[in-house]
Amino acid sequence: MAEPILRLDGLRKRFGGLAVTDGVSLEVPPGEIHAVIGPNGAGKTTLIHQVSGTLRPDAGRVVFAGRDVTALSLARRARLGLARSFQVTSILPGFTALENAALAVQARSGSSFRFLRPAASEAALNQAAMDALERTGLADRAAVPAAALSHGERRQLELAIALAMQPRLLLLDEPLAGAGPEETERLVALLRGLKRRYAFLLVEHDMQAVFALADRISVLVYGRIVATGTPDAIRADPEVRAAYLGEDEAA
């Protein structure tokens, strides 16, 4: 196996008496879509927070592209190529779709301590931002303020922002949450189109989408990974069925 792009090493996080991340270790090789599934409150978002740098783990290490990033901030990790989306969409509502993506391009292309030239007239920034919008199917909405986009489009925009960062790993926290069936279909197709070019750590409740997209799946229950494997292996795992999938099918 190639050197993993992401390696989590014994991550632990407690909130008060509750162990929300309880010794999580996993590896994501380049180009893999690694899904993390688990019931509500299993600690999936908390895990993503620790990988992205929004939360510090109590113990354990986050190794990204061979470098220990455990002590680095969200912004520093982002500059190294770690892009994340949020469970509740996080965009700049007053900016146009294009300017949302252009900020991400700007962040990785030279200093932002430039005071004279209008940023909106920097062709290089706009071009790269437009590329990201095109790849996520938002090109014709470039000039629309993000606040006026539909829910699904905002999800697409968050992906476009992530792509505009030229990331090496995308951390997606329930990218399909709240999307209607049509929007889900569009987003899944979009993610499938990005497969192999990026590595993904994908948290998602939509099992159909997870099994369609993921190369490997880790099942998180009460902060512990109870199984990791290919979609087929996970589907067949009796412990997983009992702990998680069974409930889901019954529901």
Partner: protein
């Protein structure tokens, strides 16, 4: 309308001395309005531009004014020296206090800037060498490269107007730049800015420092306009007045600060002529304005147009 409004207002200010406002009292009032507009613009940058609501901004103005006092006392009255010192002193104060305050947000930021402002106020009041509470009367206005044209009413008028236009255009340029984009983005959603790899803190601190410098310039002008400086220049009520100008004018655009400053000064003047108890009318009027003019005065004018 919103697009040509600045040119229109600046044009009117330029023509005002020849439109029947050339008398002493009117020119004094106009100069004061333009200086307050510069001060309000400097406050707009952190409040409207970066989303940092400061309640200690008068301190920066006051530090600029006291720089004039200290130099005047040392017989240094050359504007080309005094103004840069006033700007630098206020910017330095902004940098030092901002480095602490900007680590906080919301109400905490308001309280910390207020506290720093009060510290500066009490310091000024304790400067007995410069008149303490009573303030300090300047020997005269600054000279510019040795020439005395700041004494001249028209000269001073156009100096204030010129600086107001430069500051306004400068802030507009700043906002549109890469730097301004980060600032605006961090106002809307700091988490998003961090997630794309930028930490808002240094950008906010630089903006706050620039704002301090501009306020120092306004303080320099204010001291020269009145030829007198007192600790009351730094009082928190003055900070409140400035904040009011910015909010009344509208946070959506820096020109709001200019409109807000001119409108409040005009209103004060007009009501002051009607009744000595003008504050009784002024207060409720401001409350109504905040309630019903959501986008401020610029919003009102922009919306008219559709």
């Amino acid at each position: 309308m919103a697009r040509v409004l600045p040119a229109l207002v600046f044009g009117l200010l330029a023509a005002a001395p020849f439109l029947g406002l050339g008398q002493g009292w009117a020119m004094t009032l106009l100069a004061r309005g333009m200086i307050l507009a510069i001060a309000a613009l400097s406050l707009w940058l952190p409040v409207g531009g970066a989303g940092l609501v400061s309640l200690g901004h008068a301190a920066m103005l006051g530090i600029g004014a006291y720089a004039v006092v200290v130099l005047d006392d040392a017989r240094v009255t050359e504007a080309l020296v005094v103004a840069p010192v006033a700007i630098a002193a206020a910017a330095l104060f902004a940098l030092a206090t901002g480095a602490v305050a900007i680590r906080t947000a919301g109400v905490q930021f308001i309280m910390i800037t207020l506290a720093f402002g009060q510290m500066a106020f009490f310091t000024a009041a304790s400067l007995s060498a410069y008149g303490g509470d009573d303030g300090y009367t300047l020997y005269g206005r600054s000279t510019v490269a040795g020439a005395r044209w700041m004494q001249d009413r028209l000269g001073f008028h156009y100096l204030c107007l010129g600086l107001l236009v430069v500051v306004f255009l400068g802030i507009r340029m700043l906002l549109a730049s890469r730097f301004g984009r980060v600032l605006r983005a961090a106002r809307e959603n700091p988490l998003r800015v961090e997630a794309v790899g930028l930490s808002p803190y240094p950008y906010r601190l630089v903006a706050y420092t620039i704002a301090g410098g501009i306020a120092g310039l306004a303080g320099f002008l204010l001291a020269n306009a009145a030829e007198f400086v007192a600790p009351s220049f730094l009082a928190w009520q003055r900070s409140g007045d400035l904040l009011f100008m910015v909010i009344l004018g509208g946070l959506g655009s820096p020109f709001g600060a200019v409109l807000g400053a001119l409108a409040i000064l005009a209103l004060e003047e007009w009501l002051g002529h009607l009744t000595p108890h003008w504050r009784i009318i002024f207060g409720p009027l401001l409350v109504l304005a905040v309630l019903y003019l959501r986008g401020g005065l610029v919003g009102l004018i922009g919306a008219r147009r559709g």
